[in-house]
């Protein structure tokens, strides 16, 4: 039979369906117009910023108490900064309709946390400075609680 056995035809049809589905997905992706982020997405981003702030605060407290090594502290701060960068990129999307103020508060908190994290490096050996930084980072986390944090 020209075209092959029924099984071969079924495989061909399945293959073409997969190709068509991939093409449709790519087309949909390419033709997107600007849209605000979903409220759930904002809530997730806010939770991430809050989590990063709380974690950074715990890290600073542990450093002040002499419980961590220098390389661990630097490496973990670098990871936190990179993670926060990803969330900040996510927050560059337009805010959900009617929740612009909440989104802006989260963006501001993320920026404040980023500033604090950038300044940690030279002070990791100073226990007093680290305690102060821990308090600042905890305040950032608390400010998200007051906003769209959860």
């Amino acid at each position: 039979m020209k075209g092959g056995t029924p099984r071969a035809v079924a495989w061909k049809v399945a293959g073409w369906l997969v190709v068509a589905a991939c093409a449709a997905t790519l087309y949909e992706h390419a033709s997107r117009v600007p849209e605000p982020m979903e409220p759930d997405e904002l809530a997730r981003a806010a939770r991430k910023v809050k989590s990063d702030a709380l974690e950074a605060s715990a890290l600073a407290r542990a450093l002040a108490a002499g419980q961590l090594t220098a390389h661990f502290a630097r490496g973990q701060h670098e990871e936190l900064t990179s993670d926060l960068g990803d969330v900040r990129k996510q927050l560059e999307q337009p805010a959900p309709v009617g929740r612009e103020a909440e989104a802006q508060r989260v963006r501001d908190s993320a920026e404040r946390l980023d500033d604090i994290l950038q300044g940690v490096g030279p002070r990791i050996a100073d226990a007093q400075a680290m305690s102060h930084i821990a308090a600042e980072e905890a305040a950032v986390a608390a400010s998200i609680d007051d906003g769209a944090g959860s």
Partner: protein, 411 residues
């Protein structure tokens, strides 16, 4: 097999029990649900113990490793589909492990993370190339015992042991307190899959043939399987307890590898943190070696080409090329900047989809008295094997929808 060898086998099974997937799902699971997911560790540990022992016994009695049976039981076409899926999952897992090695090296010694990934991958290639199979298995397993520090940290944290005991009994979370039932189910499935990863059984059964086990070694296989995995399960329980003690109810989502180690420092001090990181490095490196070798085992066994870690390069060039290529590919993907812990979520969830097809052939052969003779599964093991296969199939069906619905467990 001498008692000393059995002891070393058990020790390396404990140290080699944990990989990056387990680190992620245990600490995150503890952070999100306290002790509620402990029962999953018990169920999964019983499952991996039964199937690992079974795969070792089948390999010894029939002289065939797991993927040889896959081809025979599922046929060449279905077997090929499973081979492709397993290979992709192994590459994803290997990527996460190689990336994770770089992160841990950076946390230990500083430096650039990408450079550390390359250094870790090179050290891994050298270790696999230069060491014999049994030395390789034991090196990573025994140095991975540094993770036992998590057991000390769990005890030092003085958890409410009555709540820990309650966690061993399956129950649903209180909807008012938790991130939700779907997220709970996602972490239960993820933890289940992380403990039962298919590469473990492929590696274990191939290892039985690599180490030239005979019928006389079956009791040692049983001891290794039961004691090693059971003690490894205690380590996994300790990880959940530490995650719960450090992060439950705090609002911290421990999604960085360093975050999984930090509680050891805060509970036991910076020296203990170094021990935990060393244990983590060798456990992750051991898992990277196992996934890379599993890729080489499965592909060469499926195509009936020469295989064996201890064979010379010219005797098994495809086999040796494949494990090297797996690590190299994992490194290249990790160097693109993907986050190891994001990759591991995908690898663990996709692995569970492959699991039923990997485990079914082992159970079928182990249940067959014509092939296994006196070593056929006893009725209890046969029954338990089917129950676990049903659980694995249910997890496989639920895994991807749960991943989509919960946005990778973020809720």
């Amino acid at each position: 097999m001498k008692p000393w060898d059995v002891f070393l086998g058990i020790m390396s099974a404990i140290g080699g029990n944990v990989d990056i997937g387990q680190l992620v799902f245990t600490i995150q699971g503890g952070a999100k649900f306290g002790f509620l997911l402990l029962w999953v560790v018990i169920v999964s540990t019983v499952g991996i113990t039964i199937y690992a022992e079974m795969s070792g016994r089948v390999a010894v009695v029939c002289g065939k490793p797991a993927f040889d049976l896959v081809r025979e039981c599922l046929g060449p076409r279905m077997g090929m589909a499973l081979l492709v899926a397993s290979t992709l999952v192994n590459i994803l897992t290997c990527t996460a492990e190689v990336g994770g090695m770089g992160v841990v090296l950076q946390l230990l010694f500083g430096g650039e993370q990408q450079l550390m990934m390359a250094a870790g991958a090179l050290a891994l290639l050298a270790a696999i190339a230069l060491l014999k199979f049994d030395s390789l298995d034991r090196l990573f397993g025994i140095l991975g015992l540094g993770l036992v520090i998590y057991v000390l940290a769990a005890v030092k944290g003085e958890p409410d042991w009555s709540q820990v005991a309650l966690g061993l009994v399956p129950r649903l979370p209180d909807p008012s307190m938790m991130p939700g039932l779907a997220v709970y189910a996602y972490f239960a499935v993820g933890l289940f899959s992380a403990i039962l990863m298919p590469y473990e059984v492929d590696f274990y059964s191939s290892g039985a043939i690599e180490e030239k086990w005979t019928i006389k070694d079956l009791p040692a296989n049983f001891t290794n399987g039961v004691v090693g995995f059971a003690l490894g399960g205690i380590l996994t329980v300790a990880l959940i307890i530490v995650g719960a003690e450090a992060y439950f109810g705090t609002g911290v989502d421990p999604h960085l590898l360093g975050t999984t180690a930090m509680p050891v420092g805060t509970l036991l001090g910076h020296q203990a943190l170094v021990v935990a990181l060393i244990g983590m490095f060798f456990a992750i490196a051991g898992a990277a070696a196992e996934t890379a070798l599993s890729n080489a085992y499965t592909i060469t066994q499926f195509f009936r080409r020469p295989w064996g870690k201890d064979r010379k390069w010219r005797e098994a060039p495809l086999f040796h090329g494949l494990w090297g290529a797996s690590i190299a590919l994992g490194l290249v993907i990790a160097l693109t900047g993907v986050k190891p812990l994001d990759v591991v979520q995908y690898s663990v969830i996709f692995a569970v989809v492959v699991l039923p097809f990997s485990y079914y052939p082992i159970l079928r052969v182990a249940n067959d008295p014509r092939l296994m003779g006196a070593h056929v599964n006893k009725p209890l093991i046969k029954w338990a094997g089917w129950v676990f296969l049903a659980l694995i199939a249910a997890a496989a069906i639920a895994a991807v929808p749960l991943m989509i619905v919960t946005h990778n467990g973020e809720g």
